[in-house]
Symmetry: C2
């Protein structure tokens, strides 16, 4: 740390790092204070409790996780272009914060009601419906029946996100180091796009 940020900002940065690394239960307030290079009491001065600090970070991160979806499906570009862009942007975003999805999922499982609370005001359904209509319009009746929108959505998210989360397992499974695995992940963007388009018979 040791940057010339405001104390409040230093705390937020440190809290992000520690919470994402250790989760709510595993994170210690002292860890965050050390990371921010400030006195532990300052944490409670700026953010009343651990829970409040956590909620703030979590809220921000969940918005971040869905932000990629946002801008993409509002313009009139064709479906295959939308998909290609989504795969690339979402992959790049998670490559920057590989621990984000695991962190969010973990806390959502811990507290099942949290999901609806945090997501309900977000314009998620709006984006989804925009996406769904683009999907329905681009596909033939037959193709749409073969691969329902929900399944396609599951495929897309799974193919993009899971490999980042499962890095420790895959590294052992295919015996590569971090650098080689990064290589595989970056090649993946095209592979995933191709597979998704192929699955709805829109190969280009």
């Amino acid at each position: 740390m040791a940057k010339d940020l405001s104390t409040e900002e230093k705390i937020k940065q440190a809290a992000k790092k520690i919470f994402m690394q250790k989760g709510l239960a595993g994170a210690r307030m002292q860890d965050i204070a050390d990371e921010a290079e400030i006195n532990k009491a300052m944490l409670h001065y700026y953010f009343r409790s651990k829970q409040q600090l956590f909620d703030l970070i979590f809220e921000e991160k969940i918005v971040q996780l869905f932000s990629t979806l946002g801008g993409l499906f509002l313009d009139a570009s064709p479906l295959d272009e939308k998909i290609k862009l989504f795969v690339e942007k979402q992959s790049d975003m998670i490559a920057d914060f590989p621990s984000l999805p695991l962190f969010v999922l973990n806390e959502l499982w811990q507290n099942p009601t949290l999901a609806e609370e945090k997501l309900k005001d977000k314009p998620l359904h709006l984006i989804r419906e925009k996406f769904r209509s683009a999907y329905d319009e681009a596909l033939t009746d037959e193709a749409r029946e073969q691969l329902p929108f929900e399944q396609f959505l599951l495929n897309m998210m799974s193919l993009i996100i899971y490999p980042f989360m499962a890095r420790p397992i895959f590294k052992s499974m295919i015996e590569v180091d971090d650098h080689q695995f990064d290589q595989i992940l970056s090649e993946r963007k095209q592979q995933v796009t191709k597979l998704l388009l192929q699955s709805i018979k829109l190969d280009s």
Copy 2:
């Protein structure tokens, strides 16, 4: 609980449940004792420390997670049959323990060296090489170059596992209840198999 199991077994059952639910940091020894309906001191009598108890459970779970891979690739069945069976068995197994992958991944990220330690004596590479050669033999040179084995493996694992982990998010995204989501997940087995075979041009 309240079953007529031995104390040791009651503790193990309870520990599995609590650890899988809350992780190492989030689990309280008292939670485990309550779940097992025994005195907290018994935990230390049978398993010296929290860490030792956790290690035992974790070891067992990681074996379980990979056990499906084991039996499948030793016989001489054709590749498409292997894939189909793997998707079904792995899906069923995770449907029984949906929190397993998140739990394992979480602890592996927490302790990066753990992955190699726990996985290195397992015959994972043997199985993988068996699978790889089946893959290479079944595919044409062209197809194999288009979709390298590693990418196919990532696809397969992602498509199977991630939807179970991401249930809280997907429920909000596509606005379904647990029952409807279960329905989607069970239909998924065929969808995933089809997509995987299609991706290596082995549609049947």
